[in-house]
């Protein structure tokens, strides 16, 4: 088995959860109600938990004595392989829920497949994660429905958010080289298998939420190959601040 590819593959999954958790963490204390602050934090905590499992495993595969934190905090921007969707900023609560929903639907389908991975560690992480992600999807889906259906203002805001975020959905299904090799090995998830299901599920809910399913076929991609949006640099300068300013220390 190609260890480098396995490592790259795990990192790319981990980075999605890490960057999304980072975005959600920025919100704690600034949401529309206390109840939503608490709920959003729970999602962030689930994602951090997943991320730690992935990085610990990746570090073990890599075999260079690195820690989860070395991997999470000490890479260059081009080495982060998360999709562009998760790094989009917290424009407003509807935007946050839209981003979450578009990711959650993918994430659950992904986890359900990862459960069948020949790699036992990844399958075990998926087994635990499925329950978490099922709840995330229910939560964000309910909110997309509420905001889409709620008032004229909320409908408009939610529609704008979905229209904007839509451009980042296709990248979820991209398969860089590491993915392809690992799919062939029976380790990685063949995301193309559920691409159609993804768009069906998303569309069904959007319609239920009185929202238009965007028809645009113009998609933006790059995160999976390490070419990020301008937001990413700022995310990392926050996230890496301590580790970069005080190198080689324990916290």
């Amino acid at each position: 088995m190609n260890k480098k590819h396995l490592f790259d593959y795990i990192i790319s999954i981990a980075d999605n959860s890490l960057i999304l958790a980072q975005r959600l963490g920025e919100l704690c204390g600034h949401g529309p109600t206390l109840e939503t602050d608490i709920a959003g934090t729970n999602i962030a905590l689930d994602l951090i938990g997943q991320t730690r499992n992935y990085y610990q495993y990746a570090a073990q595969i890599q075999g260079e004595g690195k820690t989860e934190d070395d991997l999470a905090f000490l890479r260059l921007e081009r080495e982060y392989k998360n999709v562009l969707l998760v790094e989009q900023p917290n424009e407003h609560f509807g935007y946050v829920m839209g981003r979450q929903f578009l990711f959650d639907v993918y994430h659950l389908l992904f986890m359900n497949e990862l459960l069948k991975s020949k790699d036992e560690t990844l399958a075990a992480i998926a087994k635990k994660g499925i329950k978490e992600v099922s709840y995330h999807k229910r939560f964000s889906g309910d909110w997309v429905k509420r905001l889409g259906d709620g008032t004229e203002e909320s409908n408009q805001k939610m529609q704008e958010a979905i229209d904007e975020l839509w451009a980042y959905t296709d990248e979820l299904f991209d398969q860089p080289e590491a993915d392809k090799t690992m799919i062939a090995e029976g380790v990685a998830v063949d995301t193309l298998k559920f691409k159609e299901t993804y768009y069906e599920e998303v569309s069904t809910l959007l319609k239920e939420a009185n929202l238009q399913v965007p028809e645009s076929k113009y998609f933006i991609r790059g995160g999976k190959t390490g070419v990020h949006s301008e937001f990413m640099g700022y995310i990392l300068s926050d996230m890496q601040y301590m580790q970069r300013t005080y190198p080689n220390m324990e916290w």
């Binding site: 608490i38 309910d142 509420r146």
Partner: protein, 94 residues
């Protein structure tokens, strides 16, 4: 518009075999949201296996001013308790 989210009372069963117990309250726009919020607020340390939510306005409570007539008449009905009855010492298992 600006109508506030109503208040809900949250009841949690901490494990099967036990009854649902009142845990507290929270705000939610509807019952589904109340359930989700209750899950996030009141069971984040594995405190529960089942949740009931009831909108607070639907609870009818007795008035403490009537406590005398409601509850005191029960105080002297000692014959409802097993210790009221005298048994000979040699009788076991009763």
């Amino acid at each position: 518009m600006s109508k506030n989210w109503p208040l809900w009372e949250i009841f949690v069963r901490s494990k099967n075999g036990l009854e649902h117990r009142h845990f507290g309250s929270l705000h939610a726009a509807d019952a589904e949201m109340a359930l989700e919020n209750a899950r996030d607020v009141y069971t984040r340390r594995s405190e529960g296996v089942s949740i009931w939510v009831v909108e607070s306005v639907n609870i009818t409570a007795s008035n403490p001013e009537h406590n005398g007539e409601l509850f005191e008449p029960a105080h002297d009905k000692v014959y409802r308790h097993p210790t009221f009855y005298e048994l000979p010492d040699e009788v076991k298992h009763m």
